[in-house]
Amino acid sequence: MNDVLVGRALVKRFGQTVALGGVDIAVRAGEAVAIMGPSGSGKSTLLHCLAGIMRPDEGEVHLLGQRIDAMGERKRSALRRTRFGFVFQFGQLLPELPAEENVALPLMLGGVSRQQAVRQAREWFAPLGLPGMETRRPGELSGGQAQRVAIARALVTRPAVVFADEPTGALDQRTGQDTMRLLVEATRHNDASLIVVTHDPNVAAWCDRTVEVRDGHLVTMSGATA
C-alpha cells in the first residue's frame, strides 16, 4: 500500500448545492492524476478538500496514513506549507517580490535563513528554463515564465503532493503544453505526487490517469486504476 493521499466518502455542501456527494479517491506516490469535469462539477472543491484548504462535511482525508481533515486550521496551514505545493491559474506570485524571493518565501516561512533559502531557490531557475530571470518581478515575466516560477515555488519545499488548479488556464496551447511537461517532469523528479484540476484533455493527457467528476461524483476513470 503506497497511497500518499486518500479521500474517503467525501461530502461537501454549499447551502442547498451538493458539491461532493461521497467521493472516494486515492493517489499513489509519484503518481500524476488529472481531475476533469465541466464547470460546477465539484472538481475544485475536491482539490480543496484533499489539500486541507476546506473541511469536508463528511468523510475523511489521509496523508501518508495520517488523518488531516480533522486537524485545526493552524495544523492544516503548517501541513500545506510543508507537505503540499500549489500552482494556480494566475495571481499566486507576490508582485512586490523578485522571482527568486517568491520561490524562497515558502522556505523562509519554514524557518530557513534568507541566504540559504535564496540559494536553494536559485537552483530551480536553470532546470525550469528560467536562467537570468531570478531578479525579475512577476510583472516583468511572461505568463509561461510566471507559471514556471510558480512551479519552482511549489516544489522548493520538496512536498509530498503538488496541487495544480487549471495551471495552464491563462496560457496559449503551446506554452501550456511546455508548462505541463515541466510540471509533470519536475514533480516526478522530486518524487512528489501531482493532482491537476483541468477541463483540458491535452493537459490531462500528461498525467498517469484521469478521474472525472460530474455532479459531485467520480464517474469515469482512465489510465491506471487506483
Binding site: 458539491a19 460546477g40 475544485s44 500545506r80 495571481g91 499566486q92 512586490e96 510583472g139
Partner: protein
C-alpha cells in the same frame, strides 16, 4: 450613460466593494467636518474681533475733531475675583449720538450697563466687593456688545467734562485706552484680537494641510479599489475620457455624500466646540457656524478636490492600461523631492520674528508640503534598506512592499509624520515656563503729578472705612496699598472697590493683574496647540485605520492565496505591522525634527518643558493610535483570508 454605468458599478461592488465605499465616505466625512472646523475657527475669531471693535475707539482726525466728534470713549480693565472686567467709559457730545452695539440707547451720565455675567456677579457679591465700584445699573448689555458669552463688561456713562473722561491715562493698550473723541462707536478690532486672528490662521494651515493629504488619500483609495476594473475597461476599449469621467463621477458621488455627513457631524459637534475656552471664555454657537455661503463652498469644494485627486491617481491607468494590470517595476522616486524640502529648510532660518505673518504662514505651508513630497522618497529608501537587511519573511515582505508602493505606505504614516511636524513646531513654540512666584498682592495706582501723597491719604481713609487693614506707601508717583491682614478674595475685592475711582480713569491693579494678559496668551497658545494636535491626531489615526483597511481589501487575492499555501495569518499581520511601523518610526521622528527646526526662529525664552512633554505625549499617543487603528483591520484580514476557496467549483 457614464453616470448610469458608474452608479450600477458602485452598487454592484459587492460587500467588500461597498466596504471600500464606506471607508472613502468616512474619510471624506472626517475631512469635511475638520475642514469646516478650521474655517469656522477663523470666522469665529473674526466675529469676536468685530464684536469687540466698538471698545477700541478710532479717534477722529485732528482737523475734524470739533464738528465730527459725537462722543468721548475710553476703556480700562478692572478686576473681580481675579477675573478681568472691561470697563468702557462713554460720554455723548451730541444728543443724537448713536449707542454702541448691545445698548438700546446711549448711556446717560451716572448710569452703568453691565454684561449679564457681571450683573449676575454683582447680585452674588456684596456691594462693597463689586457693586459700589460703578454708578447705578441701568440695564443689561446685549450679546452684540460681548466678545464671548460670560464676558465681564461694564459700560459707564459720564458727562463729557467728567474727570474720568478728561484725566490723563496710560496709553499702554494692555492697560486700556485713553479718552478720545470719536465720530462713531464702530471702532476697529484691537491689537490682541488681530493677534488671535493671525494665530488662528497659522493653526488652520497646520490643520488643513494634513486634511488635504488625507482627503487626497481617501480619493486615491477609491481609485486604488477601481484600478483593476478601470484598467480592464481601458483594455476593452473605453476611451481615457470615459474612464476619467466614470472615476470622477464615482469619487465625486461618494465624496458629496461624505461631505454632507461631515457637515452634519460638524453641526452636531458645535455645542461641544463652544466649550473650548480661548481669550478667557467660551464661544457663542453662532460664531462657530460658518454660514450658508461657506458651508455651500465647502460642500462644493470637497467633492471637487476629491475628484481632482482621483484624476491625478488615475493618470497611470489612463496612460498605460497595462501598467496597473501587469504590475511592472514602479519608476523610482526622484531625489528632487528631497531637494525641495532641503531648500525650504535652508530658507527657514532666514525668517525672523519680524517677518510678516503671511510669509511665515506660506513658508510653514511650503515646509509642510515639501515634507509630504519628500516622504515617499524616504519611505522608498527605508524599504530598500529593510528588504536588504531582512532575515525573516515578514520584514522581507514589508520592505519589498515599501519599495513597490512608497506612496501608499507614506499615506499610512503621513498623518502621524505631519502631526509630528506640528508637534515639533508647537512643542518648542509654546513657551510654558513663565510662571513667577507672586509676593503678597499689592494694589498700585499711578497718581497725577504732585498729588501722590494726597491720593495716598485718601486711599488710607477708604481702606480703613472698608475695614481692609493695609499699609499704603508712595513710590515716586505710584501709590501702593499692601493689605496687611489675612487676605481672601472677598477682602481683595473690598480693597479694589474701596480704591475704585481714587484716580479718575485709573484702576488699582496688582502685578498679577498686569501679567494676566501675557498668561492668558500663553494659556491660549497651549489650548490652541492641544486643539491643533487633537485634530491632527484624529486625521492621522483615521487615515491610518482607513489606509490599513483599504490595503487589506486591495490585496485580498494575494493574502488569500498566501494563506491557502499555508502562510500563517501572524506572518501576514507581522508584515503589515512592519510595513507601517518601520516608516512610522523613521518618518515620525524625522518630521518632529523638521518641525522643531522650523520652530527655532520663533522660539521665545528657550525650550519649554511643557512643550516637550506635550510633544512626547503626542508621539506616544500617535504611535499607539496608528498601531491601534491598524490592528482594527486584523479582523478584516482574517475575514478576507478565512475562506481561501470561496468558489464551489
Amino acid at each position: 450613460m457614464n453616470l448610469d454605468l458608474t452608479w450600477r458599478l458602485l452598487k454592484g461592488g459587492g460587500r467588500k466593494g461597498l466596504l471600500g465605499v464606506w471607508l472613502t465616505l468616512g474619510a471624506v466625512a472626517v475631512s469635511t467636518a475638520l475642514l469646516l472646523f478650521a474655517v469656522a475657527a477663523n470666522l469665529a475669531f473674526d466675529a469676536r474681533a468685530e464684536r469687540g471693535a466698538w471698545r477700541n475707539p478710532v479717534p477722529v482726525a485732528k482737523d475734524a475733531a470739533a464738528k465730527d466728534a459725537v462722543a468721548v470713549e475710553a476703556s480700562r480693565f478692572d478686576y473681580v475675583r481675579d477675573r478681568a472686567i472691561t470697563v468702557v467709559d462713554l460720554a455723548a457730545l451730541r444728543p443724537d449720538a448713536a449707542p454702541p452695539p448691545g445698548l438700546p440707547r446711549f448711556p446717560k451720565p451716572g448710569e452703568t450697563w453691565l454684561s449679564p455675567a457681571l450683573a449676575e456677579l454683582a447680585r452674588e457679591l456684596l456691594p462693597a466687593e463689586l457693586g459700589d465700584r460703578y454708578p447705578r445699573p441701568a440695564g443689561v448689555l446685549g450679546d452684540e456688545a460681548l466678545v464671548y458669552p460670560g464676558e465681564l463688561v461694564a459700560v459707564v456713562g459720564h458727562a463729557p467734562d467728567a474727570p474720568a473722561m478728561t484725566a490723563e491715562r496710560s496709553d499702554d493698550w494692555i492697560v486700556g485706552k485713553p479718552p478720545v473723541r470719536v465720530a462713531s462707536l464702530a471702532g476697529t478690532p484691537s491689537e490682541d484680537a488681530e493677534a488671535y486672528k493671525v494665530l488662528a490662521v497659522i493653526a488652520s494651515v497646520l490643520m488643513v494641510v494634513p486634511l488635504l493629504v488625507f482627503g487626497g488619500a481617501a480619493a486615491r483609495l477609491t481609485v486604488a479599489r477601481r484600478d483593476r476594473r478601470l484598467a480592464a475597461l481601458r483594455l476593452v476599449g473605453a476611451t481615457p475620457g470615459q474612464v476619467v469621467r466614470m472615476t470622477v463621477a464615482e469619487a465625486v458621488l461618494v465624496a458629496l455624500a461624505g461631505a454632507l455627513v461631515g457637515a452634519v457631524a460638524f453641526a452636531l459637534a458645535v455645542p461641544l466646540l463652544t466649550l473650548i475656552e480661548i481669550q478667557g471664555g467660551a464661544w457663542f454657537a453662532g460664531d462657530l457656524f460658518p454660514g450658508l455661503a461657506v458651508l455651500a463652498g465647502v460642500l462644493v469644494a470637497v467633492p471637487l478636490l476629491v475628484g481632482l485627486s482621483a484624476v491625478a491617481g488615475l493618470r497611470r491607468v489612463v496612460v498605460s492600461p497595462l501598467g496597473v494590470a501587469k504590475r511592472e517595476t514602479p519608476p523610482g522616486m526622484r531625489f528632487v523631492r528631497v531637494l525641495a524640502l532641503l531648500a525650504v529648510l535652508a530658507a527657514f532660518p532666514m525668517l525672523t520674528q519680524g517677518t510678516s505673518v503671511a510669509i511665515v504662514a506660506v513658508a510653514l505651508g511650503l515646509a509642510f508640503l515639501c515634507l509630504n513630497l519628500a516622504g515617499p522618497w524616504v519611505v522608498g529608501l527605508i524599504g530598500r534598506i529593510t528588504a536588504g537587511t531582512a532575515r525573516g519573511p515578514a520584514r522581507l515582505l514589508a520592505g519589498r512592499r515599501l519599495v513597490d508602493d512608497p506612496r501608499s505606505a507614506w499615506r499610512t504614516v503621513s498623518g502621524v509624520a505631519l502631526t509630528g511636524f506640528v508637534a515639533g513646531f508647537l512643542g518648542l513654540l509654546s513657551p510654558g515656563a513663565f510662571a513667577q512666584a507672586d509676593g503678597p498682592p499689592q494694589l498700585r495706582v499711578l497718581a497725577p503729578a504732585g498729588q501722590a501723597e494726597q491720593v495716598a491719604g485718601q486711599a488710607r481713609e477708604r481702606l480703613a472705612a472698608a475695614k481692609v487693614p493695609a499699609v499704603v506707601t508712595v513710590v515716586k508717583r505710584t501709590v501702593v496699598a499692601a493689605p496687611s491682614g489675612p487676605l481672601d478674595a472677598a477682602a481683595m475685592d473690598r480693597a479694589r472697590t474701596a480704591l475704585a475711582g481714587l484716580v479718575p480713569g485709573r484702576t488699582p491693579t496688582t502685578e498679577a493683574d498686569e501679567r494676566g494678559f501675557g498668561d492668558q496668551l500663553l494659556a491660549d497658545v497651549r489650548v490652541g496647540t492641544i486643539v491643533v494636535l487633537s485634530v491632527s491626531f484624529l486625521v492621522a489615526i483615521a487615515s491610518a485605520g482607513i489606509t490599513a483597511a483599504s490595503s487589506v481589501l486591495d490585496r485580498r487575492q494575494t493574502y488569500g492565496l498566501l494563506r491557502l499555501a499555508g502562510t500563517p495569518l501572524e506572518v501576514l499581520d507581522r508584515a503589515r505591522r512592519a510595513e507601517t511601523l518601520i516608516p512610522l518610526g523613521v518618518m515620525g521622528g524625522g518630521a518632529i525634527l523638521v518641525g522643531a527646526f522650523c520652530a527655532t526662529p520663533f522660539m521665545i525664552g528657550g525650550v519649554s518643558v511643557a512643550g516637550v512633554v506635550t510633544l512626547v505625549v503626542c508621539v506616544v499617543l500617535g504611535f499607539a493610535g496608528v498601531i491601534g487603528a491598524g490592528a482594527l483591520s486584523r479582523p478584516l484580514l482574517r475575514s478576507v483570508t478565512a475562506d481561501p476557496a470561496p468558489r464551489p467549483d
